[in-house]
């Protein structure tokens, strides 16, 4: 099965790079340390470090980008842009501000949201809100990935489902669609304060759920 997965072809020669997808949160100490080391190497101009980083996080980032953009082809374009940006900006990464994975996620997400905004003129109808919420949920029912690779995502999705609907919807719209709380309030018909409150409570509840999950 490994042969079916992607192997970065750096030199067009046989490169025996162990390919595996992480099954632990990238926030674990070991994962963070390894990612930091790789980012430092990337900052030093090591393309092999970038390749290793791509192996470790490329699939997860691609999945995130697919979810944000809705199409694989666009997600691939943005994934490419993201790793080129990681290559260029690795030296600006500050480990005091965020983990390497968070930094990469926010960088890639920013690129995707820019693209999303450029192709959408967001309407402020509640139908749009509902449509977006529905589109987020549609992406929850993707069983095309092998079971082993779904384990982590299944656990995380399960944790997300412990939030109330309004909390989860607000957080997901903000994260995956880049909606501001003001936009969520206008389109959902909820007061702005309620939306903010839902996000705050949802984020705190999610943090607790994740702590319990990985205790």
């Amino acid at each position: 099965m490994l042969g079916d997965r992607f192997i970065p072809d750096l030199t067009r020669r046989e490169v025996h790079v162990p390919v595996r997808f992480e099954t632990d949160l990238p926030s674990t100490a070991t994962q963070v340390e390894e990612d930091r080391h790789l980012l430092a190497s990337v900052a030093a101009g090591r393309q092999d470090a970038l390749a290793r980083l791509y192996e470790r996080r490329g699939a997860a980032l691609f999945s995130l980008l697919s979810r944000i953009l809705g199409t694989n082809s666009e997600a691939e374009d943005v994934l490419q842009e993201a790793f080129v940006l990681i290559w260029r900006r690795a030296s600006t990464y500050d480990s005091n501000k965020s983990s390497p994975w968070t930094w990469m996620v926010m960088l890639a997400r920013g690129l995707a949201l820019d693209r999303l905004r450029s192709r959408q003129r967001r309407s402020q109808h509640q139908a749009v809100y509902e449509q977006e919420v529905a589109s987020l949920e549609l992406e929850h029912v993707d069983h095309s990935t092998p079971l082993a690779d779904r384990e982590l995502s299944d656990r995380l999705t399960h944790a997300l489902r412990h939030l109330t609907d309004v909390q989860r919807e607000a957080i997901e719209l903000a994260f995956y669609r880049g909606w501001t709380h003001d936009e969520i309030a206008r389109t959902s018909g909820q007061p702005l304060g309620t939306v903010k409150s839902n996000i705050r409570r949802g984020m705190i509840a999610l943090r607790k759920l994740l702590k319990d999950l990985y205790a």
């Binding site: 072809d9 750096l10 790079v17 030093a44 101009g45 694989n72 691939e76 109808h125 995380l156």
Partner: protein
């Protein structure tokens, strides 16, 4: 800060990149000084990591990395100074050839920034992953591609000849269109059978119609529903269908002035909501059960009270019309009330009052068979329901809702169009009630200045065996149970609509 919450409360918004401008500046100022706030932010960032990983990893195609490698590739690092190489070539009598080669290489390599210059290191060169010079071969390929495209273009027939054949190909195009539609229908069926839960599936479809829903809207629905099904792979089929309805209604009905605007009322009206005539929450227990019906295969197994000529709901030319008549029944309920708009005018005589008459049409369609699947699209097709009794009122005329409900999942959705806009501080809240048990559940807020409001909800399926709908006027934010004036409710004296033979 406009938001008067303490800084730590904004940590969640900050990590989601939701703070902007002064709010963000203020938070970051606090963040720089507060170790505790920094810890909170770091903890909450784990949520982002989790959100990013919530979807299963997907494997990008190899070409993605190829492109990345190409974009980040470093030139082949020289191990000796370039001028030394030149001198060596000159000494060997290869000056001209060497310089030409060097010029060609420089031309071929990408115009990299300083970062690429920095990467000219021995460590990079020693790496087993160091790239070769794919740029050169890539460029060559591009050139050949261009030549190929030009050759291909010249070999193609001219546009003029294509235009001359246009009339000849029209029948073929028509045939393709027909085939495409057939494929779409097949896809629709396959999609439904795939996404629906195993076993018999019961999807209840209901409409709340005011006076007359324009035929253009229903025609649009009939067109939209099958198309949407081909695009949707959701288990929440009912919601998808309702969205289709909402989109079509929105397209057919651009935003209108709300009742408040028509009445020249001000959204700044400060008068408290006055109790409308007939408003009483006790009506909940006085409601006459709606004559909602279910098909023979429904879990309730309730008796079928066909009060509408069901067969007429489907075009007679449809092959599934017979099955539709067997598997679907309908009932109607007239919901009437009176809605008084308070503070509509300083002249009390002109206070806006309108009758709220909503006709509930329940349609239940089984989706367990191909025939029913094919027929289902017709359920939301043109309405030829005979014998509809409607009350002429502005509110009723503007309140048309389409809803669907999945009995298995308890998920439903309902779309309203052009509802009235209540005063500031008030909401129109929709409830579903069970007159037998007295159970009641909020389905959401109906009011909006938007042309369409879509409510999505999950309820106990028992509530939808014989659902009654109720609209009340509630304080902003809504209520847990109905407390305000009733805007629309089932009338005390209910007489089902009789179908025309």
């Amino acid at each position: 800060m406009p938001d008067s919450v303490p800084p730590q409360e904004d940590a969640s918004l900050y990590v989601l990149d939701l703070l902007e401008g002064a709010d963000r500046d203020a938070f970051e100022a606090n963040l720089a000084e507060s170790a505790d706030l920094q810890r909170q932010v770091r903890e909450l960032q784990v949520n982002l990591e989790a959100l990013a990983l919530a979807a299963p990893p997907r494997i990008p195609r190899p070409r993605v990395w190829e492109a990345i490698a190409k974009s980040t590739a470093a030139p082949i690092p020289p191990t000796i100074p370039w001028w030394s190489l030149v001198l060596r070539y000159v000494r060997n009598g290869w000056a001209v050839a060497g310089l030409l080669t060097l010029a060609w290489l420089l031309f071929s390599l990408p115009r990299s920034g300083t970062r690429d210059v920095e990467s000219l290191s021995d460590t990079a060169a020693d790496s087993p992953h160091s790239p070769t010079t794919p740029q050169i071969t890539q460029r060559s390929r591009h050139r050949s591609d261009e030549i190929s495209r030009k050759s291909l273009a010249s070999a193609l027939p001219a546009n003029a000849s294509a235009a001359s054949n246009q009339t000849e190909t029209q029948p073929l195009k028509d045939r393709v269109r027909v085939l495409s539609e057939q494929v779409a229908v097949l896809t629709q069926v396959l999609a439904q059978r795939t996404v629906l839960p195993p076993g018999a599936s019961q999807l209840r479809v209901f409409r709340l119609v005011g006076t007359n829903v324009g035929p253009e809207t229903l025609d649009a629905l009939a067109t939209e529903a099958p198309r949407l099904r081909t695009e949707t792979s959701s288990v929440d089929l009912s919601f998808a269908l309702t969205l289709a309805a909402a989109r079509q209604i929105a397209a057919a009905n651009p935003p209108k002035e709300s009742l408040a605007a028509n009445d020249n009322s001000s959204t700044e009206a400060t008068s408290p909501p006055s109790a409308a005539p007939n408003s009483s929450t006790s009506a909940l227990t006085q409601n006459t059960p709606a004559e909602a019906t279910s098909d023979a295969a429904s879990p309730s197994g309730g008796s079928t009270t066909a009060t509408t000529d069901v067969a007429s709901l489907a075009p007679t030319a449809d092959p599934g019309a017979g099955a539709l008549a067997d598997g679907v029944s309908s009932g109607t309920t007239t919901v009437a009330s009176r809605y008084t708009k308070p503070g509509a005018s300083t002249d009390t005589e002109s206070t806006a009052t309108t009758d709220a008459a909503i006709q509930v049409v329940d349609l239940s369609g089984g989706l367990a068979s191909t025939t029913e699947n094919l027929s289902f699209g017709n359920l939301v097709g043109p309405d030829t329901t005979p014998g509809s009794t409607t009350k002429s009122s502005s509110l009723a005329a503007e309140s048309a809702a389409f809803g669907t409900y999945e009995l298995e999942t308890g998920i439903g959705s309902i779309a309203f169009r052009n509802t009235v806009d209540p005063n500031t501080g008030e909401v129109l809240q929709l409830w579903v009630t069970d007159p037998h048990s007295g159970a009641v559940q909020s389905l959401g807020f109906v009011h909006s200045t938007n042309p369409v409001v879509v409510l999505r909800f999950r309820t106990d399926p028992a509530l939808f065996v014989n659902p009654n709908f109720l609209v009340t006027l509630e304080p902003e934010g809504g209520s847990a149970t109905p407390t305000g004036p009733v805007v629309a409710q089932p009338p005390p004296t209910f007489s089902p609509v009789q179908p025309t033979p």
